[in-house]
Amino acid sequence: MTGRGLDLTPDLHQHPNVLEVKQLSTHIRQKRFSIQAVDGVSFTVAQGETLGIVGESGCGKTITALSIMGLLPPGGEVVGGSISLDGVELVGMDRAELRSRRGSTVGMVFQDPLTSLNPSKTIGWQIGEPLRIHRRANKKEQRERALELLSLVGIPAPAERIDDFPHQLSGGMRQRVMIAIALAMEPKLLIADEPTTALDVTIQAQILDLLDGLKEQLGMGLMLVTHDLGVIAGHADRVVVMYAGQVVEEGAVGELFASMKHPYTQSLLSSIPRVGQDRARTLSSIPGLPPDLASPPLGCRFAPRCSRAQENCASAEPALGQVSATHQYACHHPVNGPLEPATAAVAVHERGPNGNGADRRVLVSARDLTKEFSLHSGLLQRRVGTVHAVAGVSFDIYAGETFGVVGESGCGKTTLGRILVGLESQTSGSLLFDGTDIATQSRRELCRLRRNFQLMFQDPYASLDPRMRIGTSLQEPLVVQRQGDRKARSARVMGLLREVGLRPEAVERYPHEFSGGQRQRVGFARSLVLNPRLIVADEPVSALDVSIRSQIINMMRRLQAVHDLTYVVISHDMAVISYLADRVGVMYLGRMVEVASSTELFKRPAHPYTQGLLKSVPVPDPAIARTAGRKPVVLGELPSPINPPSGCHFRTRCPFVIDLCSKEIPQAVEVAPGHSVSCHRSQEVYSGDLVVGSTSVRD
């Protein structure tokens, strides 16, 4: 073992291979051309082993998994190579026989647990279905097995949940049900395609831990397809890195992370922001996009985006070369190990509120902000309940800083963001923008005020009118606000496009003609058009690939300096927040439980929830991910916002809960200047006497 001497490949070779894929090629026929989605991919999965497959979207990871399952989309066809599952060749097998293996020898867990469960059948029925198909089990057997599986995948009180319908379960629970279905026939191989991408970090940690445990318990092989190197570092034994339908590097996880040879692996790893990363440096990113697989380029497919590319890269395709028995790569000009941070980055202007409190100007001031949504039901639309989306939140945002809002989905952060830009109005409480109360403005005044604050949407595609050319979309705010004449507006748009790194031709195009990253640039340009002072960015990068993500983050930081912008960045991603934000507010079930400067918060969190969130973030370094508590630290799920727990909302999931917590709502206290926390035991947590994850964990 090279690198950090971490041995993470425990005697894999004693176990037989469950899956052997050799030179697999899969094409997807379309109307006018054929996409060569998978091109000569080979790998194996041994019994009891987790193989991670990683790469950007469109690199053929999912198509590889679907080829094994025999579930290719219309037009998809395995055109060459072999897939041997448990010693039996699947390529060319007749359909009936293939069907008998699917769901019995191999099971699959899909990304979105909401759409992969049938909404009109109970979960018990759905778990019993594979048994019905493969074993012709009777109702009683099915039910017994379903109960067994539900407790196996960690669903509390299985007997009560077995007759539930999918909509009655949370996302994490649904994913557990999906896993139960995949495991019903005790498959030799489980394929998990982005099993946790749609889930919150705390739930992600739980599900990944569950998969780890099940793999060991049942002795199956696990194929973990993901774009997240953090997940790979913590949970895979070996890694296959895919790029443009090919394997570019493969190795044992410790070896690969410590001494990668392929520049793609290196760039992929270095473009991930990490909690506590040096904010003075820009993130490294991979320029451009993966190639079009309808006509893949000659030579090395990564060459056009590679900083090390030389002449021979464009002409000769590199073959897989061995470094050791467990590590191979395909590159003419290999690197050696991860990029040193010093060479990775160019300094950005360090800015934001560096001075002390006196010279900081408050731009946004929220006091006891509350937003309630009523739930109506029945014929007469009677009010049956109230969702407290935002429940008494107070904070200040200073001019020129980046304020991060972080929390699990459903904690009210998006609603808060929409209130800040005036798209929703608060139920009670006050919100001052630069001293002006937005709620009391007349319609005309509000329209004028809107120039000052703009929202940057999570999904830029949805935020652009599909029937408008980009130029028209970008000019529209100016037209609405009656700014400038046609010529001036057009010039402004051209200037903006240049600033966000798009070509002027973009104005002539429609939103669907752009890639995800380009669309987010357009979305950002549109929020800049009116020269606002505040931009609220709601999950600005979570829909993007890691390599593109860092480009957008760098762009946001650069333009903040140029235009003197104040940002509110809303995200569930702690690493993104830690890199972008000067100060951070942590939200839980409508309340802001902790506010502190970014450096302070990530070093010394004083709320158990913040601590737990931080520990749930997958770290893209096997040395850290494997040694420090690999067990999930925040258990359970977010309670319903209709009936939140009394007292402290977090008490149902908190390991340090005391009697007081259920009786009294903790008030915000300052544990240090500028660091306020709402927790009855904040002093103990802040001083380090209580550390989440180190004590025995409650169930």
């Binding site: 990113s285 320029p287 451009g288 996009l289 190639p291 079009d292 006509s295 380029p297 060459a303 056009p304 985006r305 590679c306 590319a309 160019v346 950005v348 929409r418 830009v421 005036g422 798209l423 509000l446 329209c447 004028r448 809107r450 120039r451 703009q454 929202l455 949407f457 999904d459 949805a462 935020s463 652009l464 009118d465 599909p466 029937r467 529209e476 705010p477 609405v480 606000q481 240049r498 600033e499 790194g501 798009l502 070509r503 031709e505 195009r509 429609y510 669907h512 003609e513 890639s515 990253g517 380009q518 640039r521 549109r526 058009v529 009116l530 480009q551 762009m555 650069r558 300096a561 140029v562």
Partner: protein
């Protein structure tokens, strides 16, 4: 398409002194105009092109036919009733002794006029009603939709029979009556579409930079509803033609000397057992072919509308 390294070459942005990567547009051909994409999609659908051709022929038959083929459609001539096809009357004569071929042309004119008129009126009214109802929401929406529900609950045939016994039907009246029923489903469709569109991010975005309601409806919701609406309008035309034929068949339509295909069909059915096929089949075939062609055209339009958005 490879992204050449030089294409992605870093570019220094003036004023900031920082490096920014400029992106390329990959394999996109020069931006195709929406119209050319629409034409391309449409012409790829052979059935739709054939339908369009068929409709052109039917329209030419009805409107250009009488220019070259003169017949007397006013005077009844009982000496020539129910004659079979001959040189003088290629499709025979009607039970009242009028030339069948000429009669089909005349009947087609009123049918086509009615179809188009109903399509325009019902769609226009339904669009306005549905957009306003869906966009404003709340109590206004409830009231407007209950009006639609109430009108839908009136039995159509009963209403028409009642009306026909009170007033003497004219083409305009029939158009208004059919439109009066036809717009209801359009209003529902448009309202549903508007409800989903008004919560879209791009509508929020426009609201966020201060766009007025009028602007939201006119620029963002309207054009996006239009897609489904174009298709719906075509189907309305086909529906109206069928309804008109049914009414004519029941004798609830425009009085003589005006006629329509439904009425011709009814005459043919009366004499079917005498073997007067020329009074039945030509009218039946014309109705079926026209309605089918309009429906196929509607389907093709749906593809065209969607193709503009789903190019990749």
């Amino acid at each position: 398409m490879p992204h050449g390294a030089e294409e992605i070459a870093d570019q220094v942005i003036a004023g900031t002194g920082e490096m920014v990567e400029s992106e390329t547009f990959g394999d996109l051909s020069p931006s195709a105009s929406p119209l050319s994409i629409a034409l391309r999609t449409f012409s790829a659908n052979k059935l739709a092109v054939a339908s369009l051709a068929m409709l052109v022929i039917v329209v030419a038959f009805c409107y250009l036919g009488p220019v070259f083929y003169h017949t007397n459609q006013i005077a009844t001539n009982l000496l020539r009733e129910n004659q079979g096809p001959s040189a003088a009357h290629p499709l025979g004569t009607s039970p009242t002794g009028k030339d069948e071929l000429g009669r089909l042309m005349l009947g087609g004119q009123s049918t086509i006029e009615l179809g188009l008129a109903v399509g325009v009126i019902a769609t226009g009214f339904g669009l306005v009603w549905g957009t306003v109802s869906g966009f404003i929401g709340g109590a206004v929406d409830s009231i407007m939709m209950r009006v639609v529900d109430a009108l839908l609950s009136i039995p159509f045939l009963f209403f028409v029979i009642l009306l026909a016994s009170i007033v003497r039907p004219t083409l305009i009246l029939v158009i208004l009556v059919i439109s009066g029923v036809s717009w209801l489903s359009t209003a529902r469709l448009v309202r549903g579409e508007t409800l989903s569109l008004r919560t879209r991010d791009y509508v929020s975005a426009a609201r966020g930079f201060g766009a007025s309601n009028t602007r939201l409806i006119a620029r963002h919701i309207g054009p996006n509803v239009l897609g489904v609406l174009v298709v719906n309008a075509t189907l309305k035309v086909a529906d109206a033609i069928l309804t008109f034929a049914a009414l004519g068949y029941l004798g609830l339509s425009v009085p003589p000397p005006a006629t329509n295909w439904g009425e011709i069909l009814a005459g043919g059915v009366n004499n079917f057992f005498d073997g007067y096929w020329w009074q039945l089949w030509p009218a039946a075939i014309l109705i079926v072919v026209t309605v089918l062609a309009v429906n196929v055209l509607g389907d093709a339009l749906r593809d065209v509308v969607e193709a503009r958005l789903n190019q990749r």
